[in-house]
Amino acid sequence: MRRPDASVDWLEVLPCCIGEIRIMHRAAGSFTVSHRDDTGLEGLAVYRDADAAIELARYDDAGRYRSLKTAPNLRHGWLFVLDRLEQAREVIEHFYPGRAAAYQTWRSGELRTTPLRETLGRQTGMYRASAKISERQADELVGTFCRSDGGCLRTILWKRDAAGASPSTLLPKVKFDPEFDQTGRDEAARPLLCQEACNLLVAAARNVVKGGQ
């Protein structure tokens, strides 16, 4: 596991919230990671192996497969008790794959973002059609698909096009603000940054163009 520069480390101050997760420092030098909703609850299933997070991240409370890890449907009822902060990093990486690297790169001032039109424009094969999505359709799709309440908890940093158009006029301005807690809990939280439209959004754009769901 990479040892990040302390100045860009998203766990530099504890307790810390990332997405739906809370990381805390316990007495005796250990660390806990839990669902933010479960803070202080008794009877949580305790895990000490960071890799257990892989399976926990895979299904929601109803046992349905979570195809988007940053969707606001993280299952409840678990608690990681870990001896080292590195293990907490591994747990977070399993819950929110790739987000630590995006945060670290952003804090370093080196995060390159890609406009939606560029992402769609480079697709080939079955996804080539996604580039045909109209401005109005893209505005509606992003406004629905990426919304924090029910869609995705990431903070959008990309623009709709090279001219810098907003990804969607239907999303509140705070959706693009890394300082804002996308869960709506209004706590200090590290952002799950989105530097480029994901493949799920590309696939959804294709469906819109093809007249599907």
Partner: protein, 288 residues
């Protein structure tokens, strides 16, 4: 002797799935296995349809001590993904791409092109039908087989020919889900009392849990086994099946074999052995 990768990172690229929870599982398991061996400074996975994406992976390996990154596609064959999607998404311009930081990203061959595939297929066949006389057994290797730009059928044919040359089984045959010879014709294609079926895929999922069993005539129950998480792997634990007067042994997808981790490492080593050769020669030498 194993090469020293301590100043290198390994990036395993998988397809992933938005509907199949088991698609990425082998990639993650192989990565964890290789990580435990501490061969590389870092080991990471990325996916086309899951997180982290290949675009996310462009942000990995920022430790300045990591000078080289070995990119190994966990795919069965060269084809659309290895030739178009992965190079495009990872911004690879050739066999080695030097980033602005001076870090070199090496693009290795897909796991399915490794010569050890033949041995793994044979081992899987023996494990699923222990003690069954090979000379009274037909071995059927299942490929996807589509008209996509995907050479998985070519890879499956290559393996069948390699196993056939060993003259261990009464017959070794290719079958496909979507092109002839079809899986559903297995009883006509195989003449022996025992039939072993091995899916040549990198992960289990709807195809191996349900589609292929249905094509074989296995009763997967109402709604199919894939719809029930707990019973998803049950279809591999009921061998032998007695169908069409034969003993049928059905294995899980080859890519779930833990030995795939070794092949992923081998592909990085193979890159170094063939560093000076052009891409086409490397691919040819790996499959020869």
């Amino acid at each position: 002797m194993q090469r020293d990768f301590r100043n290198s990172a390994l990036l395993i690229v998988g397809h992933g799935s938005t509907v199949n929870p088991d698609s990425s599982a082998p990639n993650l398991a192989h990565a964890a296995d290789i990580r435990r061996r501490r061969l590389f400074a870092e080991v990471a996975c990325c996916f086309w349809k899951e997180e982290p994406s290949m675009r996310d992976a462009l942000l990995f390996f920022r430790d300045s001590s990591i000078r080289e990154v070995y990119v190994v596609p966990n795919f069965i064959s060269e084809g659309y993904f290895t030739q178009t999607v992965i190079p495009r998404e990872l911004e690879l311009s050739g066999r080695t791409t030097e980033r602005a930081t001076g870090q070199a990203w090496h693009y290795c061959g897909p796991v399915g092109s490794h010569p050890m595939m033949t041995e793994l297929l044979l081992q899987r066949a023996v494990e699923v039908a222990p003690g069954v006389p090979e000379k009274e057994t037909s071995l059927l290797i299942v490929g996807h087989g589509t008209n996509l730009n995907d050479n998985s059928a070519v890879a499956a044919k290559r393996e069948v020919e390699a196993i056939r040359r060993l003259d261990r089984y009464a017959a070794v045959l290719n079958v496909y889900m979507e092109e002839a010879p079809l899986v559903s014709d297995w009883a006509k294609l195989a003449q022996t009392a025992n039939v072993v079926i091995v899916p040549f895929f990198v992960s289990d999922g709807l195809h191996s849990y349900e589609d292929i069993p249905v094509l074989l005539g296995i009763d997967v129950g109402p709604g199919g086994s894939a719809t029930d998480r707990k019973n998803a792997g049950e279809v591999f634990r009921q061998n032998p099946y007695h169908l069409c007067g034969r003993n049928l042994y059905y294995a899980s997808s080859l890519g779930t074999d833990p030995r795939f981790a070794e092949i992923i490492v081998e592909q990085a080593e193979a890159f170094d052995r063939h560093r000076t050769l052009p891409m086409e020669s490397v691919t040819e030498s790996l499959v020869a």
